[in-house]
Protein backbone atom coordinates (compact mmCIF):
# COMPACT_ATOMS: atom_id res chain seq x y z
CA UNK A 1 0.00 0.00 0.00
CA UNK A 2 1.21 3.45 -0.71
CA UNK A 3 0.53 6.86 0.73
CA UNK A 4 -0.34 8.34 -2.63
CA UNK A 5 -3.71 9.98 -2.90
CA UNK A 6 -5.74 10.62 -6.01
CA UNK A 7 -6.66 14.25 -6.38
CA UNK A 8 -9.38 15.70 -8.55
CA UNK A 9 -8.36 15.61 -12.15
CA UNK A 10 -7.25 19.12 -13.06
CA UNK A 11 -8.07 18.41 -16.71
CA UNK A 12 -11.78 18.18 -16.20
CA UNK A 13 -12.53 21.85 -15.78
CA UNK A 14 -14.96 22.19 -12.94
CA UNK A 15 -17.56 24.89 -13.20
CA UNK A 16 -20.06 25.83 -10.53
CA UNK A 17 -22.35 27.13 -13.25
CA UNK A 18 -22.50 23.65 -14.76
CA UNK A 19 -23.35 22.13 -11.41
CA UNK A 20 -26.07 24.70 -10.70
CA UNK A 21 -27.46 24.11 -14.17
CA UNK A 22 -27.38 20.35 -13.72
CA UNK A 23 -29.16 20.77 -10.38
CA UNK A 24 -31.88 22.87 -12.00
CA UNK A 25 -32.23 20.39 -14.82
CA UNK A 26 -33.01 17.64 -12.33
CA UNK A 27 -36.32 19.44 -11.95
CA UNK A 28 -36.90 20.46 -15.55
CA UNK A 29 -36.94 16.90 -16.93
CA UNK A 30 -40.52 16.53 -15.74
CA UNK A 31 -41.39 20.19 -16.20
CA UNK A 32 -44.43 19.52 -18.32
CA UNK A 33 -46.17 17.40 -15.73
CA UNK A 34 -45.23 19.73 -12.88
CA UNK A 35 -45.93 23.20 -14.27
CA UNK A 36 -48.51 21.84 -16.69
CA UNK A 37 -50.35 20.27 -13.77
CA UNK A 38 -50.68 23.63 -12.04
CA UNK A 39 -52.10 25.20 -15.19
CA UNK A 40 -54.57 22.37 -15.75
CA UNK A 41 -55.89 22.86 -12.23
CA UNK A 42 -56.11 26.61 -12.81
CA UNK A 43 -58.05 26.02 -16.02
CA UNK A 44 -60.50 23.78 -14.16
CA UNK A 45 -60.93 26.39 -11.44
CA UNK A 46 -61.48 29.05 -14.09
CA UNK A 47 -64.13 27.06 -15.92
CA UNK A 48 -66.05 26.28 -12.73
CA UNK A 49 -65.67 29.88 -11.56
CA UNK A 50 -67.06 31.28 -14.81
CA UNK A 51 -69.87 28.72 -14.92
CA UNK A 52 -71.03 29.78 -11.46
CA UNK A 53 -70.87 33.45 -12.46
CA UNK A 54 -72.79 32.68 -15.62
CA UNK A 55 -75.59 31.19 -13.51
CA UNK A 56 -75.51 34.20 -11.19
CA UNK A 57 -75.72 36.56 -14.14
CA UNK A 58 -78.53 34.52 -15.65
CA UNK A 59 -80.50 34.71 -12.38
CA UNK A 60 -79.81 38.21 -11.14
CA UNK A 61 -78.96 39.95 -14.37
CA UNK A 62 -76.02 42.22 -15.05
CA UNK A 63 -74.82 44.10 -12.03
CA UNK A 64 -71.53 45.76 -11.32
CA UNK A 65 -68.30 43.92 -12.06
CA UNK A 66 -67.90 40.79 -9.98
CA UNK A 67 -64.73 39.26 -8.69
CA UNK A 68 -63.42 36.62 -6.30
CA UNK A 69 -60.03 35.56 -4.97
CA UNK A 70 -60.16 32.21 -6.75
CA UNK A 71 -56.88 32.96 -8.54
CA UNK A 72 -55.10 32.93 -5.17
CA UNK A 73 -55.34 29.13 -5.14
CA UNK A 74 -52.96 29.10 -8.13
CA UNK A 75 -50.25 30.69 -6.00
CA UNK A 76 -50.37 27.86 -3.55
CA UNK A 77 -50.63 25.19 -6.22
CA UNK A 78 -47.47 26.51 -7.88
CA UNK A 79 -45.73 26.85 -4.52
CA UNK A 80 -46.60 23.29 -3.56
CA UNK A 81 -44.69 22.07 -6.61
CA UNK A 82 -41.64 23.85 -5.18
CA UNK A 83 -42.19 22.03 -1.93
CA UNK A 84 -42.19 18.72 -3.80
CA UNK A 85 -38.93 19.64 -5.53
CA UNK A 86 -37.28 20.14 -2.18
CA UNK A 87 -38.70 17.08 -0.47
CA UNK A 88 -38.37 14.66 -3.40
CA UNK A 89 -35.67 15.83 -5.79
CA UNK A 90 -33.12 16.91 -3.20
CA UNK A 91 -32.18 13.41 -1.95
CA UNK A 92 -31.82 12.29 -5.56
CA UNK A 93 -29.56 15.27 -6.29
CA UNK A 94 -27.28 14.44 -3.38
CA UNK A 95 -26.99 10.86 -4.55
CA UNK A 96 -25.68 12.18 -7.83
CA UNK A 97 -22.96 14.13 -6.05
CA UNK A 98 -24.59 17.57 -6.21
CA UNK A 99 -23.97 19.73 -3.17
CA UNK A 100 -26.77 21.20 -1.10
CA UNK A 101 -25.57 24.67 -2.07
CA UNK A 102 -25.68 24.03 -5.80
CA UNK A 103 -29.01 22.29 -5.50
CA UNK A 104 -30.50 25.19 -3.59
CA UNK A 105 -29.17 27.83 -5.97
CA UNK A 106 -30.25 25.87 -9.05
CA UNK A 107 -33.70 25.20 -7.66
CA UNK A 108 -34.21 28.79 -6.54
CA UNK A 109 -33.24 30.11 -9.97
CA UNK A 110 -35.55 27.62 -11.59
CA UNK A 111 -38.41 28.65 -9.31
CA UNK A 112 -37.73 32.30 -10.14
CA UNK A 113 -37.79 31.55 -13.88
CA UNK A 114 -40.88 29.36 -13.71
CA UNK A 115 -42.87 31.87 -11.70
CA UNK A 116 -41.79 34.63 -14.08
CA UNK A 117 -43.15 32.55 -16.93
CA UNK A 118 -46.43 32.05 -15.07
CA UNK A 119 -46.59 35.78 -14.32
CA UNK A 120 -46.21 36.63 -18.00
CA UNK A 121 -48.99 34.20 -18.93
CA UNK A 122 -51.23 35.60 -16.19
CA UNK A 123 -50.55 39.11 -17.51
CA UNK A 124 -51.57 38.06 -21.02
CA UNK A 125 -54.72 36.45 -19.66
CA UNK A 126 -55.48 39.64 -17.75
CA UNK A 127 -55.27 41.59 -21.00
CA UNK A 128 -57.73 39.19 -22.61
CA UNK A 129 -60.00 39.55 -19.59
CA UNK A 130 -60.02 43.32 -20.05
CA UNK A 131 -60.54 43.22 -23.81
CA UNK A 132 -63.46 40.84 -23.45
CA UNK A 133 -65.10 42.85 -20.69
CA UNK A 134 -64.53 40.15 -18.11
CA UNK A 135 -65.01 37.17 -20.40
CA UNK A 136 -68.31 38.57 -21.60
CA UNK A 137 -69.75 38.21 -18.10
CA UNK A 138 -68.39 41.27 -16.35
CA UNK A 139 -66.34 38.99 -14.10
CA UNK A 140 -62.76 39.59 -13.06
CA UNK A 141 -60.91 36.36 -12.55
CA UNK A 142 -57.35 37.53 -13.09
CA UNK A 143 -57.81 41.13 -11.90
CA UNK A 144 -59.29 40.14 -8.53
CA UNK A 145 -60.35 43.76 -8.12
CA UNK A 146 -56.96 45.11 -7.16
CA UNK A 147 -54.29 43.46 -9.32
CA UNK A 148 -54.44 45.99 -12.15
CA UNK A 149 -51.26 47.99 -12.76
CA UNK A 150 -50.68 50.96 -15.05
CA UNK A 151 -48.29 49.18 -17.40
CA UNK A 152 -47.38 45.68 -18.49
CA UNK A 153 -43.98 45.70 -16.77
CA UNK A 154 -45.48 46.49 -13.37
CA UNK A 155 -48.30 44.07 -14.13
CA UNK A 156 -45.85 41.19 -14.60
CA UNK A 157 -44.07 42.20 -11.40
CA UNK A 158 -47.38 42.32 -9.53
CA UNK A 159 -48.01 38.68 -10.45
CA UNK A 160 -44.42 37.49 -10.29
CA UNK A 161 -43.17 38.67 -6.90
CA UNK A 162 -45.96 37.19 -4.76
CA UNK A 163 -45.86 33.96 -6.77
CA UNK A 164 -42.10 33.72 -6.35
CA UNK A 165 -42.20 34.71 -2.69
CA UNK A 166 -44.72 32.03 -1.75
CA UNK A 167 -42.72 29.48 -3.75
CA UNK A 168 -39.50 30.46 -1.95
CA UNK A 169 -41.32 30.20 1.36
CA UNK A 170 -42.46 26.69 0.43
CA UNK A 171 -38.92 25.81 -0.66
CA UNK A 172 -37.72 26.90 2.77
CA UNK A 173 -40.42 24.79 4.43
CA UNK A 174 -39.26 21.89 2.26
CA UNK A 175 -35.74 22.49 3.53
CA UNK A 176 -37.03 22.33 7.11
CA UNK A 177 -38.67 19.01 6.27
CA UNK A 178 -35.42 17.68 4.81
CA UNK A 179 -33.51 18.66 7.90
CA UNK A 180 -35.90 17.99 10.78
CA UNK A 181 -38.69 15.99 9.17
CA UNK A 182 -42.36 16.41 9.92
CA UNK A 183 -41.67 17.52 13.47
CA UNK A 184 -39.70 20.47 12.15
CA UNK A 185 -42.52 21.50 9.82
CA UNK A 186 -45.02 21.41 12.69
CA UNK A 187 -42.64 23.45 14.83
CA UNK A 188 -42.32 26.08 12.09
CA UNK A 189 -46.11 26.21 11.67
CA UNK A 190 -46.58 26.70 15.40
CA UNK A 191 -43.80 29.31 15.39
CA UNK A 192 -45.50 31.26 12.60
CA UNK A 193 -48.80 31.02 14.44
CA UNK A 194 -47.20 32.48 17.57
CA UNK A 195 -45.69 35.34 15.54
CA UNK A 196 -49.03 36.17 13.91
CA UNK A 197 -50.81 35.96 17.26
CA UNK A 198 -48.20 38.27 18.80
CA UNK A 199 -48.73 40.83 16.02
CA UNK A 200 -52.50 40.64 16.40
CA UNK A 201 -52.21 41.10 20.16
CA UNK A 202 -49.82 44.00 19.75
CA UNK A 203 -52.05 45.80 17.23
CA UNK A 204 -55.09 45.26 19.42
CA UNK A 205 -53.29 46.38 22.56
CA UNK A 206 -52.01 49.53 20.84
CA UNK A 207 -55.40 50.17 19.23
CA UNK A 208 -53.47 50.22 15.96
CA UNK A 209 -55.87 48.35 13.70
CA UNK A 210 -57.04 51.56 12.05
CA UNK A 211 -53.55 52.65 11.05
CA UNK A 212 -52.78 49.05 10.12
CA UNK A 213 -55.71 49.10 7.70
CA UNK A 214 -54.80 52.57 6.49
CA UNK A 215 -51.31 51.34 5.59
CA UNK A 216 -52.79 48.84 3.15
CA UNK A 217 -55.17 51.39 1.67
CA UNK A 218 -52.63 54.16 1.32
CA UNK A 219 -49.66 52.14 0.13
CA UNK A 220 -49.65 51.71 -3.66
CA UNK A 221 -50.64 48.13 -4.51
CA UNK A 222 -47.45 47.64 -6.50
CA UNK A 223 -45.46 48.13 -3.27
CA UNK A 224 -47.73 45.74 -1.41
CA UNK A 225 -47.49 43.15 -4.19
CA UNK A 226 -43.98 43.54 -5.53
CA UNK A 227 -42.12 45.59 -2.92
CA UNK A 228 -42.53 44.35 0.63
CA UNK A 229 -42.87 40.67 -0.33
CA UNK A 230 -39.29 40.83 -1.58
CA UNK A 231 -38.18 41.11 2.05
CA UNK A 232 -39.99 37.87 2.84
CA UNK A 233 -38.58 36.29 -0.33
CA UNK A 234 -35.02 37.20 0.63
CA UNK A 235 -35.54 35.94 4.18
CA UNK A 236 -36.97 32.66 2.86
CA UNK A 237 -34.10 32.05 0.47
CA UNK A 238 -31.45 32.85 3.07
CA UNK A 239 -33.20 30.93 5.85
CA UNK A 240 -33.91 27.96 3.59
CA UNK A 241 -30.27 27.76 2.60
CA UNK A 242 -29.03 27.92 6.19
CA UNK A 243 -31.42 25.11 7.09
CA UNK A 244 -30.61 22.94 4.09
CA UNK A 245 -26.86 23.37 4.43
CA UNK A 246 -26.83 20.87 7.28
CA UNK A 247 -29.67 18.65 6.08
CA UNK A 248 -29.13 14.94 5.65
CA UNK A 249 -31.44 13.16 3.26
Amino acid sequence: MTAATVHPDPDTAFSSTDRVLAAARLSTVALRSRLGGAWVILTAIFVVHQAIWWVIRANVGAEETGYTGALASFYFIVASTSLAVMTQVMPFALSLGITRRHFYIGTSLLVAAETLFSAVVLTLLLQIERWTGGWGLGVQFFEMGFMGQPNLFLQVLAYWVPLMTISFLFLAIGAVFRRWGQTGVWAVCIGLLVVVAAIVMYLTWQNAWLSFGRFFVETPTILLLAGYPLILAALSVAGGYLVLRRAQP
Binding site: R25, V29, S95
Partner: protein
Protein backbone atom coordinates in the same frame (compact mmCIF):
# COMPACT_ATOMS: atom_id res chain seq x y z
CA UNK B 1 0.94 0.61 -7.28
CA UNK B 2 -2.36 2.09 -6.27
CA UNK B 3 -3.49 5.34 -4.83
CA UNK B 4 -6.11 6.17 -2.24
CA UNK B 5 -9.38 7.50 -3.58
CA UNK B 6 -11.43 7.44 -0.41
CA UNK B 7 -10.50 7.02 3.22
CA UNK B 8 -11.87 7.14 6.72
CA UNK B 9 -9.63 8.10 9.59
CA UNK B 10 -10.98 7.09 12.99
CA UNK B 11 -14.54 7.96 12.06
CA UNK B 12 -17.14 7.63 14.78
CA UNK B 13 -20.80 8.33 14.17
CA UNK B 14 -23.15 8.48 17.11
CA UNK B 15 -26.88 8.94 16.99
CA UNK B 16 -28.68 9.69 20.22
CA UNK B 17 -28.72 6.10 21.39
CA UNK B 18 -26.71 4.17 18.80
CA UNK B 19 -23.09 4.17 17.79
CA UNK B 20 -23.29 3.45 14.08
CA UNK B 21 -19.55 3.68 13.45
CA UNK B 22 -16.92 3.25 16.09
CA UNK B 23 -13.44 4.51 15.26
CA UNK B 24 -13.55 3.25 11.69
CA UNK B 25 -10.43 3.49 9.57
CA UNK B 26 -10.01 2.14 6.07
CA UNK B 27 -8.82 3.25 2.67
CA UNK B 28 -10.18 2.49 -0.78
CA UNK B 29 -7.75 2.27 -3.66
CA UNK B 30 -8.14 3.71 -7.11
CA UNK B 31 -9.64 1.63 -9.92
CA UNK B 32 -10.62 -1.37 -7.87
CA UNK B 33 -13.87 -3.04 -6.93
CA UNK B 34 -14.31 -3.09 -3.17
CA UNK B 35 -16.76 -5.18 -1.22
CA UNK B 36 -18.18 -3.38 1.80
CA UNK B 37 -19.63 -6.26 3.73
CA UNK B 38 -21.51 -6.66 6.95
CA UNK B 39 -24.89 -7.43 8.43
CA UNK B 40 -27.93 -5.18 8.37
CA UNK B 41 -27.31 -2.24 10.63
CA UNK B 42 -23.57 -2.90 10.76
CA UNK B 43 -22.84 0.65 9.64
CA UNK B 44 -22.13 0.14 5.94
CA UNK B 45 -24.65 2.67 4.68
CA UNK B 46 -23.61 5.22 7.29
CA UNK B 47 -19.99 4.85 6.16
CA UNK B 48 -20.96 5.45 2.53
CA UNK B 49 -23.19 8.37 3.50
CA UNK B 50 -20.31 10.01 5.32
CA UNK B 51 -17.95 9.46 2.39
CA UNK B 52 -20.47 11.06 0.03
CA UNK B 53 -21.22 13.91 2.45
CA UNK B 54 -24.82 12.92 2.92
CA UNK B 55 -24.04 12.54 6.57
CA UNK B 56 -21.41 13.93 8.89
CA UNK B 57 -19.14 12.11 11.29
CA UNK B 58 -19.38 12.78 15.01
CA UNK B 59 -15.60 12.60 15.14
CA UNK B 60 -12.79 11.56 12.88
CA UNK B 61 -12.36 12.51 9.26
CA UNK B 62 -13.52 11.20 5.93
CA UNK B 63 -11.88 12.13 2.69
CA UNK B 64 -12.39 11.46 -0.99
CA UNK B 65 -9.86 12.42 -3.63
CA UNK B 66 -7.75 13.82 -0.83
CA UNK B 67 -10.30 16.37 0.34
CA UNK B 68 -13.09 16.67 2.87
CA UNK B 69 -16.29 15.78 1.01
CA UNK B 70 -18.83 17.89 2.87
CA UNK B 71 -20.32 20.44 0.45
CA UNK B 72 -17.19 20.04 -1.63
CA UNK B 73 -18.54 20.09 -5.17
CA UNK B 74 -15.15 19.55 -6.74
CA UNK B 75 -14.80 16.05 -5.34
CA UNK B 76 -18.49 15.17 -4.95
CA UNK B 77 -18.99 15.79 -8.66
CA UNK B 78 -16.90 12.68 -9.19
CA UNK B 79 -19.15 10.43 -7.10
CA UNK B 80 -22.32 8.47 -7.61
CA UNK B 81 -24.15 6.82 -4.72
CA UNK B 82 -26.83 4.29 -5.61
CA UNK B 83 -28.78 3.62 -2.45
CA UNK B 84 -31.25 0.83 -2.03
CA UNK B 85 -33.59 3.17 -0.14
CA UNK B 86 -33.41 6.05 -2.61
CA UNK B 87 -36.81 7.29 -3.71
CA UNK B 88 -37.13 9.05 -7.02
CA UNK B 89 -39.57 11.95 -7.34
CA UNK B 90 -43.12 10.57 -7.38
CA UNK B 91 -44.28 11.95 -10.69
CA UNK B 92 -41.06 11.16 -12.55
CA UNK B 93 -41.06 8.43 -15.11
CA UNK B 94 -38.03 6.18 -15.27
CA UNK B 95 -36.79 8.03 -18.35
CA UNK B 96 -37.00 11.36 -16.48
CA UNK B 97 -34.72 9.97 -13.82
CA UNK B 98 -32.21 8.71 -16.39
CA UNK B 99 -32.29 11.99 -18.34
CA UNK B 100 -31.78 13.96 -15.14
CA UNK B 101 -28.77 11.84 -14.22
CA UNK B 102 -27.33 12.17 -17.73
CA UNK B 103 -27.19 15.96 -17.28
CA UNK B 104 -25.15 15.61 -14.11
CA UNK B 105 -22.36 13.34 -15.34
CA UNK B 106 -19.99 14.58 -18.03
CA UNK B 107 -18.98 11.00 -18.90
CA UNK B 108 -22.54 9.66 -19.03
CA UNK B 109 -22.75 6.99 -21.73
CA UNK B 110 -26.13 7.38 -23.37
CA UNK B 111 -25.75 4.39 -25.68
CA UNK B 112 -24.73 2.18 -22.76
CA UNK B 113 -27.71 3.38 -20.72
CA UNK B 114 -30.06 2.66 -23.63
CA UNK B 115 -28.63 -0.80 -24.03
CA UNK B 116 -29.08 -1.52 -20.32
CA UNK B 117 -32.67 -0.26 -20.45
CA UNK B 118 -33.32 -2.73 -23.22
CA UNK B 119 -31.53 -5.67 -21.62
CA UNK B 120 -33.18 -5.19 -18.25
CA UNK B 121 -36.51 -4.49 -19.99
CA UNK B 122 -37.06 -1.35 -17.94
CA UNK B 123 -40.42 0.30 -18.75
CA UNK B 124 -39.04 3.83 -19.08
CA UNK B 125 -42.43 5.43 -19.53
CA UNK B 126 -43.76 4.13 -16.26
CA UNK B 127 -43.92 6.45 -13.25
CA UNK B 128 -41.25 5.60 -10.70
CA UNK B 129 -43.77 5.07 -7.93
CA UNK B 130 -45.39 2.35 -10.05
CA UNK B 131 -42.19 0.45 -10.76
CA UNK B 132 -41.76 -2.90 -9.07
CA UNK B 133 -39.02 -3.28 -6.49
CA UNK B 134 -36.78 -4.93 -9.05
CA UNK B 135 -37.43 -2.29 -11.72
CA UNK B 136 -36.70 0.39 -9.15
CA UNK B 137 -33.36 -1.29 -8.51
CA UNK B 138 -32.67 -1.45 -12.25
CA UNK B 139 -33.00 2.34 -12.50
CA UNK B 140 -30.27 2.68 -9.87
CA UNK B 141 -28.08 0.06 -11.49
CA UNK B 142 -28.28 1.84 -14.85
CA UNK B 143 -27.42 5.21 -13.31
CA UNK B 144 -24.53 3.70 -11.38
CA UNK B 145 -23.09 2.04 -14.47
CA UNK B 146 -23.77 4.67 -17.15
CA UNK B 147 -22.64 7.60 -15.01
CA UNK B 148 -19.04 6.35 -15.14
CA UNK B 149 -18.38 8.29 -11.96
CA UNK B 150 -14.77 7.83 -10.82
CA UNK B 151 -16.07 6.80 -7.38
CA UNK B 152 -19.27 4.79 -7.51
CA UNK B 153 -21.08 3.33 -4.50
CA UNK B 154 -23.67 0.60 -4.87
CA UNK B 155 -25.53 0.06 -1.62
CA UNK B 156 -27.42 -3.21 -1.99
CA UNK B 157 -28.42 -2.34 -5.53
CA UNK B 158 -30.02 -5.68 -6.25
CA UNK B 159 -33.17 -5.71 -4.08
CA UNK B 160 -36.02 -7.34 -5.96
CA UNK B 161 -33.77 -8.45 -8.80
CA UNK B 162 -33.88 -12.11 -9.71
CA UNK B 163 -30.74 -14.20 -10.05
CA UNK B 164 -30.53 -13.64 -13.80
CA UNK B 165 -30.82 -9.87 -13.52
CA UNK B 166 -28.25 -9.84 -10.74
CA UNK B 167 -25.84 -11.81 -12.90
CA UNK B 168 -26.44 -9.33 -15.73
CA UNK B 169 -25.54 -6.53 -13.35
CA UNK B 170 -22.32 -8.26 -12.25
CA UNK B 171 -21.38 -9.04 -15.85
CA UNK B 172 -21.96 -5.48 -17.01
CA UNK B 173 -20.15 -4.07 -14.01
CA UNK B 174 -17.11 -6.21 -14.69
CA UNK B 175 -17.09 -5.62 -18.43
CA UNK B 176 -17.54 -1.89 -18.14
CA UNK B 177 -15.03 -1.74 -15.32
CA UNK B 178 -12.46 -3.39 -17.57
CA UNK B 179 -12.98 -0.77 -20.27
CA UNK B 180 -13.48 2.20 -17.98
CA UNK B 181 -11.60 1.55 -14.76
CA UNK B 182 -12.95 3.37 -11.76
CA UNK B 183 -13.33 2.88 -8.06
CA UNK B 184 -16.39 0.87 -7.16
CA UNK B 185 -17.75 0.10 -3.71
CA UNK B 186 -20.25 -2.70 -3.62
CA UNK B 187 -22.16 -3.14 -0.40
CA UNK B 188 -23.94 -6.45 -0.39
CA UNK B 189 -25.20 -9.45 1.54
CA UNK B 190 -24.85 -11.80 -1.39
CA UNK B 191 -21.17 -12.38 -0.83
CA UNK B 192 -20.95 -15.64 -2.74
CA UNK B 193 -22.30 -13.92 -5.83
CA UNK B 194 -19.75 -11.15 -5.81
CA UNK B 195 -16.76 -12.95 -4.38
CA UNK B 196 -15.16 -13.26 -7.82
CA UNK B 197 -15.84 -9.61 -8.49
CA UNK B 198 -14.40 -7.89 -5.47
CA UNK B 199 -10.72 -7.29 -5.11
CA UNK B 200 -10.71 -5.82 -1.64
CA UNK B 201 -12.91 -6.56 1.33
CA UNK B 202 -13.91 -4.28 4.17
CA UNK B 203 -16.06 -6.10 6.70
CA UNK B 204 -17.91 -3.97 9.23
CA UNK B 205 -19.80 -5.31 12.20
CA UNK B 206 -21.48 -3.27 14.89
CA UNK B 207 -19.75 -0.18 13.61
CA UNK B 208 -16.25 -1.65 13.73
CA UNK B 209 -13.97 -2.85 10.98
CA UNK B 210 -13.31 -6.58 11.34
CA UNK B 211 -11.56 -7.22 8.05
CA UNK B 212 -9.78 -4.81 5.71
CA UNK B 213 -7.84 -6.98 3.29
CA UNK B 214 -7.29 -8.08 -0.24
CA UNK B 215 -9.89 -10.61 -1.31
CA UNK B 216 -7.14 -12.80 -2.67
CA UNK B 217 -5.42 -13.02 0.70
CA UNK B 218 -8.72 -13.81 2.40
CA UNK B 219 -9.54 -16.70 0.12
CA UNK B 220 -6.73 -18.75 1.60
CA UNK B 221 -7.19 -17.29 5.03
CA UNK B 222 -9.34 -19.92 6.68
CA UNK B 223 -10.00 -23.62 6.33
CA UNK B 224 -12.42 -26.06 7.83
CA UNK B 225 -11.04 -29.15 9.43
CA UNK B 226 -13.27 -32.19 9.82
CA UNK B 227 -12.48 -35.45 11.54
CA UNK B 228 -12.63 -37.37 14.79
CA UNK B 229 -13.03 -35.04 17.76
CA UNK B 230 -9.71 -35.88 19.31
CA UNK B 231 -7.62 -35.41 16.15
CA UNK B 232 -9.35 -32.16 15.28
CA UNK B 233 -8.93 -30.84 18.82
CA UNK B 234 -5.25 -31.67 18.67
CA UNK B 235 -4.83 -29.94 15.33
CA UNK B 236 -6.86 -26.89 16.29
CA UNK B 237 -5.03 -26.24 19.52
CA UNK B 238 -3.34 -22.85 19.49
CA UNK B 239 -5.11 -21.60 16.40
CA UNK B 240 -7.82 -18.99 16.10
CA UNK B 241 -11.09 -20.82 15.92
CA UNK B 242 -13.89 -19.11 14.07
CA UNK B 243 -16.55 -21.77 14.30
CA UNK B 244 -17.21 -25.28 15.54
CA UNK B 245 -19.91 -27.85 14.93
CA UNK B 246 -19.99 -31.29 16.44
CA UNK B 247 -21.92 -34.27 15.18
CA UNK B 248 -21.45 -37.40 17.25
CA UNK B 249 -17.81 -38.29 17.29
CA UNK B 250 -17.03 -35.94 14.47
CA UNK B 251 -15.93 -32.37 14.86
CA UNK B 252 -15.76 -29.63 12.27
CA UNK B 253 -13.96 -26.42 13.06
CA UNK B 254 -13.19 -23.35 11.02
CA UNK B 255 -9.68 -22.12 11.68
CA UNK B 256 -8.01 -18.93 10.65
CA UNK B 257 -4.47 -18.60 9.37
CA UNK B 258 -3.71 -22.30 9.19
CA UNK B 259 -2.23 -24.40 6.43
CA UNK B 260 -3.67 -27.86 5.79
CA UNK B 261 -1.47 -30.54 7.27
CA UNK B 262 -0.92 -33.39 4.85
CA UNK B 263 0.46 -35.58 7.57
CA UNK B 264 -2.92 -35.96 9.21
CA UNK B 265 -4.71 -38.80 7.43
CA UNK B 266 -7.78 -38.59 9.71
CA UNK B 267 -8.45 -35.00 8.93
CA UNK B 268 -10.22 -33.51 6.00
CA UNK B 269 -9.39 -29.97 4.96
CA UNK B 270 -11.62 -27.70 2.92
CA UNK B 271 -11.11 -24.11 1.84
CA UNK B 272 -13.54 -21.63 3.30
CA UNK B 273 -15.46 -19.41 0.91
CA UNK B 274 -15.37 -15.66 1.37
CA UNK B 275 -18.98 -15.76 2.49
CA UNK B 276 -18.27 -18.43 5.08
CA UNK B 277 -15.29 -16.49 6.31
CA UNK B 278 -17.34 -13.33 6.65
CA UNK B 279 -20.18 -15.14 8.39
CA UNK B 280 -17.88 -16.93 10.81
CA UNK B 281 -15.85 -13.84 11.55
CA UNK B 282 -19.00 -11.84 12.21
CA UNK B 283 -20.44 -14.59 14.40
CA UNK B 284 -17.24 -14.80 16.34
CA UNK B 285 -17.32 -11.04 16.88
CA UNK B 286 -20.91 -11.21 18.09
CA UNK B 287 -20.53 -14.21 20.30
CA UNK B 288 -17.05 -13.31 21.48
CA UNK B 289 -16.73 -17.04 21.93
CA UNK B 290 -13.02 -16.92 21.69
CA UNK B 291 -10.24 -14.53 22.32
CA UNK B 292 -10.83 -10.98 21.19
CA UNK B 293 -8.05 -11.16 18.69
CA UNK B 294 -9.61 -11.79 15.33
CA UNK B 295 -7.78 -12.65 12.15
CA UNK B 296 -4.35 -11.37 12.87
Amino acid sequence: MSATVAAMHGVTKRYSDVTALDDVTFALQENRIHGLLGRNGAGKTTAMQILTAQNVATSGAAEIFGERPYENARVLARTCFIRESLKYPDDYKARHVLTAASHVYPHWDRAFADRLVEEFALPVDRACKKLSRGQHSVVGVIIGLASRAPLTFFDEPYLGLDAVARQMFYDHLLADFAENPRTVVLSTHLIDEVSDLIEHVVLIDKGRVLIDEEAEALRGRAITVTGPVESVERFARGHVELHREQLGGFLRVTLSGVQPASAEPNLQFEPVSLQQLVVRTTQQNSGARLEKEVLS
